[in-house]
Amino acid sequence: MMPDLPTLPNYPLTRGVHPPLLSPDYGSTRLRAPLNGLRLMPQRLTEVTGPLLGEGRVAPGDHDLTRQHSGEALGQRIVVAGRVSDEHGRAIPNTLVEVWQPNAAGRYAHAWDQHPAPLDPNFTGVGRCLTDSEGRYRFITIRPGAYPWRNQPNAWRPAHIHFSLFGRAFTQRLVTQMYFPGDPLFVQDPIFTSIPDPAVRERLVCRWSPELTEPEQALGYEWDIVLRGSTTTPWEQPGS
């Protein structure tokens, strides 16, 4: 007979934060959003565990997107740094953070991006790092350019950096985008405005940070990331 399980962590769902899957202003959702509704998946062993992807996934220098080639990347150098925690403020240490973005001209190093802006041979636009013991991450990169897309007439995506986070449980997995303060393109962007609550949208906007700004080198931006919180932590489990 299987042994009984001690109490597992549980990650309660916070509603009203994520965008609705069917957001017709963002045209690609119309044929890709499921329409049958989502069923409830109780959180059991597979959901409260998750991949703990460590050192083998990150090489030295992977956090610096400006120095991955023989020459320096073109554009405004920036530092993007912050803290990864859960909703209860608990730091999430040693978790993989993956980023990707277009170059300073707003073009991705991808065969499908054919918009007539220059490619930069010294910029691929991919970075990885692990958070430290306090949940902190730090990237050095180039401020990405805005770019046009065909969602609606004369549509432009606000400048953004894609972020991928694992946390420590399958329930905490998050892929999102970080934006820059004061961007005039927010109002016409159906991806940013797919988040129903305007106050919640602001959680995706970094802030300029004098502390992170490096004199004569790089502007600094701070952006904290909050993943789902659990009602128990491993060290609070009975019997452990």
Partner: protein
């Protein structure tokens, strides 16, 4: 959580789509190899991702998470005292021009629910794509486990037609698991 039991609350970061260029940031050369090909017990699971018109989705990425063949996780929150697994358990594969993904893994063992029941062998799946503003979550079950599938609490919570969308089918020596994002045969997706 402090001794008073009062939880601090920070605002959850909202999700956004991976967009069409996810391959730049999210693909790994060894992503599809949960275990190296040719490992003992290795199985190949592949499938196609389709949109609401039945067209393949060539810009999605599938991620998988599962227990090892003994039903154990290499994770500190697997509370069973004799858990010493080192199994990676994680796979990821972007779809190709035909919307096809494939991973190589082992069939996971069954899992205890904690209340005396047993979950049938399964793999949790996340789907990301342009046009998906949040990830989709589903599960792969195995066609050679009719009895365990019949007792599985999650499968039992679904109507038969939806249950069938979660059970992979034999494809020669391999398994096939297609994902239909929308339409009459829409895959069952979950909120968790």
């Amino acid at each position: 959580m402090g001794a008073t039991g009062i939880l601090m609350t920070l605002g959850l970061t909202p999700s956004q789509t991976v967009g069409p260029f996810l391959a730049i940031g999210l693909t790994w050369a060894d992503g599809p190899a949960v275990v190296p090909a040719g490992s003992p017990g290795a199985i190949r699971i592949s499938g196609q991702v389709f949109d609401g018109t039945g067209s393949p989705v060539p810009d999605a990425i599938i991620e998988t998470w599962q227990a090892d063949a003994q039903g154990r996780f290499a994770h500190p929150d697997d509370p069973r005292p004799d858990s010493t697994s080192t199994f990676r358990g994680f796979g990821r594969c972007a779809t190709d021009d035909e919307g096809v993904y494939a991973i190589v893994t082992v069939k996971p063992g069954p899992l205890p629910t904690g209340d005396g029941r047993t979950e049938a062998p399964h793999i949790d799946v996340s789907i990301f794509a342009r046009g998906l503003l949040d990830r989709l979550v589903t599960r792969i079950y195995f066609p050679d486990e009719p009895e365990a599938n019949g007792d599985d609490p999650l499968l039992r919570s679904l109507p038969q037609s939806e249950r069938d969308t979660l059970i992979a089918v034999f494809d020669g020596e391999n398994l096939r698991f297609d994902i239909r994002l929308q339409g009459p045969d829409e895959t069952a997706f979950f909120e968790l």
